[in-house]
Symmetry: C2
Subunit: 212 residues, 2 copies
DNA sequence: ATATCAAGTAACTTGACAGTTACTTTGTAT
DNA sequence: ATACAAAGTAACTGTCAAGTTACTTGATAT
């Protein structure tokens, strides 16, 4: 008896999982581009090629959908970050590249900051844990002499996030400061090179010739 | 004959300038809190204690009002920045304090980034000029040995803005990383101390005892 | 085969919001 | 005094968007 849960690919027929997936993808686009207030439920529905009613069926309301989008993105990011290199020289450039490739995430964080400010955030506990692990890694690297040990680890982590994410969060300022668009390959090359030198300073070494 | 332009303080009577001022103040609050899309014209009118019609009278439409708010804030900031100290040791903490005291500005920049992305911004020319001057100052300090001369000045300026403004732009991340709220005096003290040490690293010196 | 429930649809309701109309009040120049 | 323009008001309008209603279609368990 084909209870039909293992290979539900009829392309034309119904498919709740695919429908939800399509809604989430469309919602990610719309929310990261327009924010919660600016996003239009009808646009999401149209882009997902579903009836608006289904969106309410699966996610309750607009905010429920937003929370789910954010929740999923957080998991995805946590997984990515776990694969980032440990060597501080390549760590900042790698974080920067991650930010370049996933501007949707930066934008979601930005909308979140504006909408909820300092209040408790969605999925607080999981994120707290994840950040605590990152602080711990900074501490270990300080112990190994790969990062200046006299700096507060929390503040240092925050600053590392700042220098890698800021250009994507404020593309207009990056352009004003460098004359290049952040999506320009030249800008990205320049920033990566800068961050490599910068990482040396954070280790307490002078950034002369790095090829030695 | 009292043509009445020099001392128009009747408190009860009409007063176009004061009305405009009140609208602009209320609009700054509303726009920085909710962004352009989220801001409500009626809320602005109510807060300014004026009739909505006057808002349209003076500023054309919602966007016209937004542009004017941004334009004024930009002037204000340019003036403030000109008074910031030149010594790099105190410069980062001073910028940070400025960011703390003027979160409305950070938020406006953030809304701007999200709404207009990399496109040409409001008041582009004036801002370009102002940033160019800041880059030039960085270059001078590099020449004087107050900042590491091997770093690209534009990227360096961008990074200085990043480390000073990021905590206010992403208060939720600052809290996750340090356990403190950004509006907490303790957080601000900690960050200022950190930035002082950080400035020494940027000069290429090791940040040992700083009291000497 | 058919009852049952989940998936899906179109049209509707309700409220909110940007912008307007048609009007009154107030100051000032002649 | 009075004509005139700018300052100000209340109530309205058209549009748009979130969320709902009442319905049809399709899969599957018995």
């Amino acid at each position: 008896m084909k209870t039909g849960q293992q290979a539900t690919q009829k392309t034309g027929g119904r498919n709740p999982q695919q429908t939800q997936q399509r809604i989430l993808e469309a919602a990610l686009q719309e929310f990261s581009a327009k924010g919660f207030a600016g996003a239009r439920v009808d646009v999401i529905a149209r882009r997902a090629r579903i009836n608006k009613r289904m969106l309410y069926h699966y996610f309750g309301d607009k905010e429920g959908l937003f929370r789910e989008v954010l929740r999923r993105k957080i998991s995805e990011r946590a997984a990515w970050l776990a694969t980032a290199p440990e060597e501080p020289m390549e760590r900042l450039p790698a974080w920067f590249q991650l930010a370049c490739r996933d501007r949707e995430w930066i934008q979601l964080l930005q909308w979140e900051a504006l909408q909820w400010g300092e209040k408790k955030v969605i999925d607080e506990e999981r994120r707290q844990e994840s950040v605590a692990r990152a602080v711990e890694r900074v501490r270990q690297q300080q112990a190994k002499g790969l990062l200046d040990p006299s700096l507060d680890p929390g503040q240092l982590l925050l600053s590392m996030m700042a220098v890698t994410a800021y250009p994507m969060a404020f593309p207009q300022l990056a352009r004003l400061a460098t004359g290049l668009s952040v999506s320009d390959a030249e800008f990205q090359k320049q920033r990566e090179a800068f961050l490599r030198q910068f990482a040396m300073l954070l280790a307490g070494k002078k950034p002369g010739a790095e090829s030695a």
